[in-house]
Symmetry: C2
Subunit: 177 residues, 2 copies
DNA sequence: ACAACTAGCATGAAAAATCATATATTAATC
DNA sequence: GATTAATATATGATTTTTCATGCTAGTTGT
């Protein structure tokens, strides 16, 4: 019989949550990003804005929808973010001549400078982070994540099964991009 | 060190972002969670609310601050979420007799029922997700994530015993996306 | 016991994200 | 070559989040 445990703080609860894959993913993402996101904030950017800059450095002239996908944000949000970034002269929006619905987003020199600096910092931070991971975990993490993404991103996964005895018929909004 | 592999992305953009660890983490978390989060939404819950329910099933009577940490949300947000959940009679808040600042959150029978159902669904979903991962990646992912979390989270179990109100003033308050 | 400090939670006002939908353009169909 | 559907972006209105701060209760030091 165990002694009565103290339930106040920092209880290492051996429950469901702490071993749940989706929680581990979200928590790991949060924890790993927290430090660098402070750098981003210090540069006067919000996280999606930083992602936009990084994406544009990879592919200048990307479309808003593309950027929304990469920045993990919704389209209407990205639209507003891009407008704000344009006001701050980090990017410029140009209509696509071939398809006038599209808006191509380009880095300004100012935006490119900031993006370049932050990407360099991100690479340093990433290298340090990976180095702190014990042994092979640092090396295994990226391939495992890519494998997970590859299994989920293309097309509609066949694993989308639900309805374990719950009442169906509720209108689930199928608004996946 | 770096094995320059072909990008799994069909996009011809072998840029920085698609191989950046923090992006892979965030994107993997998003993609992996998307399916189940629709189930959560269909149950009339937002994601942090689901996390609160799951956490309370692990540890009933948790404090608001504790729940905020687990649900990866800020304290003021969690306060409001708990208030809303109380109105919906999923939880009840009770003052802690020993420390009247604290608010202990307990599941109602209704909340426990919903939590139990969703956790069961989450387990099924998780098992299917892991099964779809090719070979060893499914098995390596969790340990790698735990290693990452262990390297980043402040509290280590070695000295975390009987730590009611220790001097560790710095809490996780930079939990932003 | 008293002051000063910290922890836990709540809250108002401002910023923001979200949802649904509008608008404009292109692609597809008959 | 109209008509219909689909794509790309923008926007209004509502709900959420956030930030700073307030307030109460416990803790520490003298």
């Amino acid at each position: 019989m165990q002694a009565p445990r103290d339930e106040t703080v920092s209880e290492a609860a051996p429950g469901f949550v702490s071993d749940y894959l989706l929680y581990l993913l979200a928590a790991a993402s949060e924890a790993a990003s927290a430090q660098f996101h402070q750098t981003v904030r210090a540069a006067g950017l919000r996280v999606p804005e930083w992602r936009v800059l990084a994406c544009l450095l990879d592919e200048d002239g990307a479309m808003v929808t593309q950027l929304a996908t990469v920045a993990l944000a919704e389209q209407s949000r990205l639209t507003r973010i891009i407008l704000q970034m344009e006001k701050r002269e980090l990017v410029v929006r140009r209509g696509d001549a071939a398809d006038k619905r599209r808006v191509r987003v380009h880095l300004t020199p100012q935006g490119r400078s900031l993006a370049t600096r932050l990407v360099a910092e991100a690479k340093v931070h990433e290298a340090e982070l990976i180095r702190t991971l014990s042994g092979g975990d640092g090396a295994r993490l990226k391939p495992a994540l890519r494998s997970l993404l590859a299994a989920l991103e293309p097309g509609t996964p066949e694993t989308a099964r639900r309805g374990t005895g719950q009442k169906t018929g509720s209108q689930v909004k199928e608004n996946m991009d």
